[in-house]
């Protein structure tokens, strides 16, 4: 990567807070389920079928190599990237791993604050916060927050949003 930052070039600094460490476990488990199903189905066909297509053996071997690699690399990488910050004026998130994104939304544009928990998130004591704006392209998601932290954050956001009232469109 070319280091072309000088003193004058503006650069986004990462948001202040990391998500919960337990998110690593959550990401590993949810991704491994997909891989287990994928590898399982392929194995089943290769083992049981009389004339399994030859390319299936290739993809099976590929899956067995890529799967564990993905499970080792992705959650750690994600944990380093996923960050968030809430100030009086704005919500700022950073997410992704191979493809990363930074989202900033002013508090005055916030429409709703949702907390979601799927069964695995409940298992790991995590929650996901979704902050929506009037635009369909603008929702900010903070995944992998500790549940109590998420509740406090949603509470805080709702309070600051109410303080800054507006049309929000």
């Amino acid at each position: 990567m070319s280091e072309h930052t000088t003193n004058t070039a503006p650069e986004l600094r990462p948001p202040a807070h990391r998500v919960s460490r337990r998110a690593i476990g959550y990401w590993t488990v949810t991704a491994s389920i997909v891989w287990i199903i994928l590898i399982g189905v392929q194995t089943l066909i290769v083992v049981t079928s009389d004339d399994a297509p030859s390319f299936l053996t290739v993809t099976l071997v590929l899956s067995c190599v890529l799967g564990p690699l993905h499970l080792i690399v992705m959650p750690q990488w994600r944990y380093r990237v996923h960050r968030w910050e809430v100030t009086g004026e704005a919500v700022y998130t950073q997410s992704g791993w191979l493809k990363q994104e930074w989202r900033i939304a002013p508090v005055s544009r916030i429409q709703t604050v949702d907390i979601e928990r799927d069964p695995f998130e409940q298992l790991f004591g995590l929650a996901k916060i979704t902050v929506t704006t009037a635009s369909a392209a603008g929702p900010l998601r903070i995944a992998g927050l500790a549940h109590d932290r998420a509740l406090a954050l949603a509470d805080e956001l709702t309070k600051t949003t109410q303080a800054v009232r507006g049309d929000a469109t």
């Binding site: 503006p10 650069e11 704006t133 009037a134």
Partner: protein, 513 residues
Amino acid sequence: MSSTETVVTPPAEGTQDAPWHHLDRRMLLIRPVLDLVKSLPVLLGALLFGHGEPWQWIGLVFTAIAVFTGVSHVLTSRYRITESQVEWRTGLLQRKHRAIPRDRIRTVDVTSEPKHRLFSLAAARIGTGRHSHGKGPGKDELVLDAVTIAEAQRLRTLLLHRKAEAVTTEAADAPPEQLIAAVDKRWLRYAPFTLSGLAVVGAAVGTVYHFAHELHFDPIQFSLVQAVVGHFAETPAWVSVLLAAVGLLVLVSLLSIGGYVLSFWNFRLTREPAGTLHIRRGLITTRSVSIEEDRLRGAEIREPLPLRLAGGARCVAIAGGLREGKGADKGGGLLLPPAPVARAHEVVAEVLREDPVATPLVRHPRRALYRRLSRAVLGVLLLAAALYGLAWLGALPDWPWQVALVLVPFAALVGWDRYRGLGHAFTGRYLVTRSGSLDRGTAAVRCDGLTGIVVERSYFQRRAGLVTLIAPVAAGKGKYRVLDVGEADGLALADRALPGLLTPFLTGDRDRG
């Protein structure tokens, strides 16, 4: 004309106990017929396939239900406009009640389909500025399916011109509306370049093929088809291909011209004194769309490749409450049908009272060219590889992958053109961005309409020092991209477009104050 209507209405209108209005009863003559026609396939299907079975009359039940629902909808739907909201009730067995606060109403769209035009009726669609996808149609809009055109006009003036109402009712005659653009016969020459006829041809071929397949007859058995095929079998392949291509071109051109006439007949864009843009167009189905000017978030000039080669362009409004290309809103914000590109700029200048789209754009770094080229060429190469794989397995003949390989230089050209199109600018009030080659668009989005900012960077963009800036707005497409902009440039642009928002999160340039 509409202002006198407002005076004539009972004084109770717009108060706490405003009178309820019904849908126009003349719809009772049309709706059952349409419902009957719509359920004809079910009716006939059940009769044909269920012949002798106990369920053969089930189609009749469905038809009866459909007709009954239609009739009861017309009979039971009522609406009224109170001081603060528009209320709507419908249903006999399943009652529905919906209320929309009047200050949330952003658009009143009046459409007259052929079924309406029989009795000079129209459908008035009252929309709020909400802009979220994944919601079914009618979720937060209200459709009054059968009102007289005069009533639709009255609703439009009443609901949209609230601020100016006091002024206009005092003045006996409202000042005349100002004409911004009207369609010109000479613009028909741009119609073939829109290729809109291609969709019609595609749909027709698809339908014919589907029916032929369903009914198990082979088109080759027809003597006419046989004669044509036989004729072509004797001529060399390249002649047949050439003839077919020319024939298709002529057909598509004719259909496109027909489509242009149908959609844009009598196109007029006017500005009403109350500050509303009013668009009227259509030959058989007439549409009338109103856009409140303070809902306008910008404008976009679209130049798809064929149209651009002919020097033409379309102009589209970016307005809150008009979702682009979504169901009933499709084409709603069209400010100018395909017309000379200079005219499109004039319309933007007239509508936004400045022409940000004409600002010279800042080109994107050279590294963006390599990305455009590699993406275009790699895409086609992957396709060719997949087709080759299928040919190797024997699933396909050889020519598809060969054709795909021939397309590689064209893909490179398109990639190059895409890079040439990339650009952005900031004009003080507007963020301007251009991208695309086959479907090039230059959008100017009002900065105070942005609901935040998104910066995206893929692994390859990171290596090239590029980012993609996404400007989310609650209007038009919902988001406008500044593709592959240099990282520092992009952040500087975002910082200028949304002053103060990014500042606490930026490092580096600390002396901006």
